[in-house]
Symmetry: C2
Subunit: 437 residues, 2 copies
């Protein structure tokens, strides 16, 4: 017989998954309860409320899809898009291609615009395409992990509003580490995953839908034969998936609690704890922590003399793409990082495969000590591979960024102390002193 | 802020989910590792081998689908059936309807035959329908949890072979608790879930595909744009789902390890441990344990004067449908079981809703003490509800069944000792002494 799973010690500093927060690992081992147990339905309801806060929304329709992030993407697209419906996908990396691919399989008429990998789209370019294509849905990745770019979304809601288009965004890689304001930015549907800045395991996809998006689903609702009641609607063109039919998933999470799948309780517990951890620290403080760790990692790799790929002003806080120097073999350095230092960093896809390393600072791992450990190891591996690097410069630069951030945060708290009474909720981008580094 | 999840103490004796084995809960909290870490890919490969043994197959294509059992069903049907393909579904309960529904949404031409709830189909009736419909796929539930019936599958492979039909079966509720011989019975595709007799959480769907089934997928393979290489095939009629495209899922688990989703590592760990627990005890011993606990529960409810629904000769070992006596309100008794005794039992769907309770004895909960505790509580709740029940008769009857099984097992071991050398592997239906009761 095989032995129980017993993984080697690793520090996961790639583009995700990253080390889950130990609190999330503990939540995963919580005892199961039946899916209609009052405690269970209350826990589902509570988790919905937590994710409303994570997404920055008041959308009633905020639930988990029981699958990985791409299940969330497919649930959104297959549920919103009937065969023949037009969708516009601005592609700026691998995950834009994924959205287009999923929409194609859903039978939609897919239009794409593309920009060079390493860039994002100016809103005006997207608006021009919207005007030309007149899609039902504009589907755009927020942070495309393949290039590290973070597409600005804050003006897209207004554009979609003007043209009567639904706006969907995949925030899998960006949520938690970068600003995302579902309601304030007018995004109709956002889907995500736990395994990046939320510090959880892959396998649950939080999703939120505006009333406008729910209205589209309502028109496509069809309750399955095994549990249908006499007065229930039956569509003759139902959503093409049963498992990922968001109308049914919402009926399961909603007051009717219509049987669909059996909620994956362990993953629900994990999702619940991920959100609690984020909201306890505070949404803005968590973003600030990612910003600091990301700046530190960026400063560190630059101080090691490495070049950073893409439009740095538009990269996500939580991941950086580092160009692999010509005099080393990328996968050998990556291998040494893993084998000699126990640290995982990533490569990328398509045109960037073998050209960049992607180094993440996400969720539980967006910390000073993880940044420092990674930079020290990278310096060592580069030197061993024969690439000349300045001794200690990467770690120094990262420590400087963290020190400056600490001073800044302390100053903010002093300033805040003058105007806020104790116990006031902090908003804005100030991290309270004592928040995880 | 909300509190950490903290469920009430429950004993889950419904139709599933049931209490996860504590070993599985512990496995869930194992640290994450990157998806291409050599340890991770080795663990995936090991898990495939474990599930080959659980399914009774040598199929190379044995993997997990990252979703609940119905994700496994949909993956099988949407991947095998192109739009317009004919599928035959014998319906003998709610989950037969589900198969038909999922196939309809996949665009297949769906033909059903139905039998009364509480019955199964004689193979000859299925063969007649196969002859008439000439489907590409025969899709049949093994154990339909809604009625507790266990459709005999052992002759269906030969029927399908004769008519050149692919055979798919949903073994979610039956696997582990009842015989299932994927290869010996000639079943092409079987999908399952962890949350019944395998003693795990919902959210991972083990699936196995014969080479014949894989050949069908090969004809539909289409690698997505974001990761496609120059010489990769692109189908102009790809499988309608990306997330549940088994051709891509097999490429991810196979030697090419083509990126698809991020494996849900925590659920993989759980699935791995579920299989290890089953195989350590031995497949036949586990089935025998379910048979004994199921007989004990059946004898117990009958001794309490309750009637059992359906064709008892064909029920699954692991669940019994008990007719609700006329003089009590089913949901009140169920509520008292939960609130006063901490025990969950189920009701059913459609025509059986409010007419039967479903009591499960599955996985970790297929034990003597759980059966006894449930029967004692049921006696009490029935009496409190005003229904006359013989005092202690249910528990007595269950204990008698367990005692007889122990004697039988001991005799078997004695007999076996005469013919087997120590250390021989037990096959057949004998439970070794000392196996969990
Ligand atoms: C026979 C059968 N098939 C499929 C399912 C669906 O499984 P899930 O709820 O895990 O999606 C169930 C669930 O009870 C079942 O009993
Ligand atoms: C931006 C983005 N979208 C979607 C996905 C797909 O997520 P999953 O692998 O969880 O299905 C990823 C995974 O890395 C991602 O980074």
């Amino acid at each position: 017989m095989t032995q129980p799973v017993n993984p080697p010690a690793r520090l996961l500093m790639g583009p995700g998954p990253i080390d889950a927060d130990p609190r999330v690992l503990r939540a995963l081992s919580t005892a199961l309860v039946g899916q209609y147990d009052p405690w269970m339905t209350a826990t589902m309801t509570e988790t919905q409320e937590l994710y409303r806060q994570v997404f920055g929304t008041r959308n009633d329709a905020t639930v988990l899809v029981d699958g990985t992030s791409r299940a969330g993407i497919e649930a959104a697209l297959v549920s919103l898009l009937a065969p023949g419906d037009r969708v516009l996908v601005p592609v700026f990396g691998r995950f834009g291609h994924l959205l287009a691919e999923i929409a194609t399989r859903a039978g939609a008429e897919v239009h794409t615009i593309e920009t060079e990998w390493g860039q994002v789209f100016p809103p005006s370019v997207i608006e021009d395409a919207v005007r030309r294509v007149r899609p039902k849905v504009l589907a755009v990745v927020q942070g495309d992990t393949s290039t590290t770019m973070n597409q600005p979304l804050d003006e897209l809601g207004a554009i979609c509003e003007r043209h009567g288009v639904l706006l969907y965004s995949d925030a899998t890689a960006s949520i938690g580490g970068n600003p995302l304001e579902t309601d304030a930015w007018g995004i109709d549907v956002v889907s995500a995953g736990l395994q990046k800045c939320l510090g959880g395991p892959s396998g649950s996809a939080p999703i939120t839908l505006s009333p406008r998006a729910v209205a589209v689903l309502d028109g496509r609702r069809s309750i399955e034969a095994g549990i249908r009641e006499a007065d229930d609607v039956v569509s003759d063109d139902p959503i093409r998936s049963n498992y990922l039919d968001l109308a049914m998933i919402l009926d399961y999470w909603g007051p009717r609690r219509l049987n669909h799948h059996t909620e994956a309780a362990s993953m629900l517990y994990a999702a619940n704890e991920c959100a609690r951890i984020l909201l306890e620290e505070g949404r803005e403080a968590v973003i600030e922590r990612h910003a600091t760790a990301g700046r530190a990692m960026l400063a560190g790799v630059e101080a090691l003399g490495l070049r950073v790929f893409g439009d740095v002003a538009h990269k996500m806080h939580n991941v950086v793409a580092v160009e692999i120097p010509d005099d080393v073999v990328g996968d050998e350095v990556r291998g040494a990082m893993l084998e000699d230092h126990g640290i995982e960093i990533g490569t990328s896809f398509g045109p960037l495969h073998g050209r960049v390393w992607r180094i993440g600072t996400m969720g539980y791992n967006a910390r000073k000590d993880t940044v420092v450990r990674t930079l020290a190891a990278l310096e060592h591996c580069l030197r061993r591979a024969g690439h000349v690097v300045p001794q200690g410069a990467g770690v120094d630069a990262a420590l400087d960024v963290h020190a400056a951030a600490d001073v800044h945060a302390a100053a903010d708290v002093h300033a805040a102390a003058d105007v806020h009474a104790p116990g006031d909720v902090h908003t804005g981008s100030t991290a309270p002193v004592g928040a995880p580094a």
